[in-house]
Amino acid sequence: MSFSISLTVNGAARKVAFDDPRVTLLDLLRERLDLTGAKKGCDRGQCGACTILIDGRRINSCLALALSHDGADLLTIEGLARGDALHPVQAAFIAHDSFQCGFCTPGQIMSAVGLIQEGQAGHDPERVREGMSGNLCRCGAYVDIADAVLDAQKRLTKLDRKQVA
């Protein structure tokens, strides 16, 4: 059997053909589109290293069947920066030293971008920590991750205000 789906990946239209119905979005990104930012940690929806945005919402791409997402708009870590200008969440992770080995970092950053867009956590550190609990960090950089998310959120709020004004 062969399958073909159309996706928008980081703003670009992509048509992807594959021959196995078991392909997940994570497999498709990593193996078919050479976008290896999203990581295969547990591959079972437990660690969050594969987090991407689908149609603006953060999800675990390891538990998303590619066939089921024909027509979807995906944003991965590779699509976050604008040229050399890092996304405010990326910049905040560097400023706050929010990683050690870096394996979970793309998932953490995409999850943080999703969290900020959802707008439920506000500037409450406890809500940010709770909202980020789907992303494990085995190095234990959690404190600095939460600081980076709160800081990035402040910057993004200021940017929004400027854009409105």
């Binding site: 953060r58 538990l63 069947l65 959802e118 909202g131 980020m132 992303n135």
Partner: protein
Amino acid sequence: MNTFDYFRPTTISEAVAAAAEPGAAYLAAGTNLLDLMKGGVARPSRLVDVNHLPGLDQIEHLPAGGVRIGALVRNADLAHDPDFAQRFPAVAEALLSGASAQLRNAATVGGNLLQRTRCGYFYDTASACNKREPGAGCEARGGDTGLHAVLGWTESCIATNPSDFCVPLVALDAIVEIEGKAGRREVPLESFHRLPGDAPERDSVLEPGELIVAVRLPAEAAPFAAHARYLKVRERTSYAFAVVSAAAALRINGSAVVEARIALGGVALKPWRARAAEEMLVGERSVETAFRRAAELALADAKPSGDNNFKIVLARGIVVRALALAAAGTPERTPALPASPFAHNPGALLNV
């Protein structure tokens, strides 16, 4: 993972016909099913993808005061629907206490009702499990039973239902709308999940091909909004299944209980409604002594299925605490740590 045929129906009747074939399974978000397939626990030969069926993703507030939730509404969308969260706060709190933000963005209402047990022996294909393979035996008996049943279990199966969402739903008399070959039928959620009985492999009363299309909360569920909570004890504060949980909802006149609803999670293979405890509370003052008697009644039939007697003690405490929190009043906003006993609650209640 075994390979499978993939089929995307365009109508409900097409879906029902396709899923009635032996070996077929419905695919919604797949957050549980794909995990089970990757582990070799579920091996469907055909996936019927219902994600694109029209009309199943609406939250309809009904004129009489109830709500009808389409089976494809995502957990996060329901929990964050302002009208829904205001009218059914314990349900929103339960949803937000489950899984992670990523999973809640994907997982559906119908899928939540159909998630399989998280019994480690069910998941481990090297262990004997009557639910996975009828007649094989139950290795959970005598094993690690911290997440296992203390109510309604049998020698053949001591697993629990892992849903948070279903606990307040069952307390509030939710109805499941089901479409099958013979047309539409409705089943109270309380009768939807099965205890193990003589067929532990059957989780629910669904017949082959039957599809959950909606879950409905009746108008009678809305008057509890001012006094409704969900409380959940987990091995860590976030992103873990319940060891025990409880939903408590009260209607209070002055200091007297007019009506009470109590259900427990993590204690049985179905969300466990505690009707005797509810009846006892009617007319009582909403005070701790009454809540303690209610908790005794709620767990009166409980017995450990292994080294888990602690769960009975814990469940009593959680029922008392959930009732006390419900009596104190629903918070204006879902707590930062939903359903957590470690959330910032008024100090006196923490000693219950």
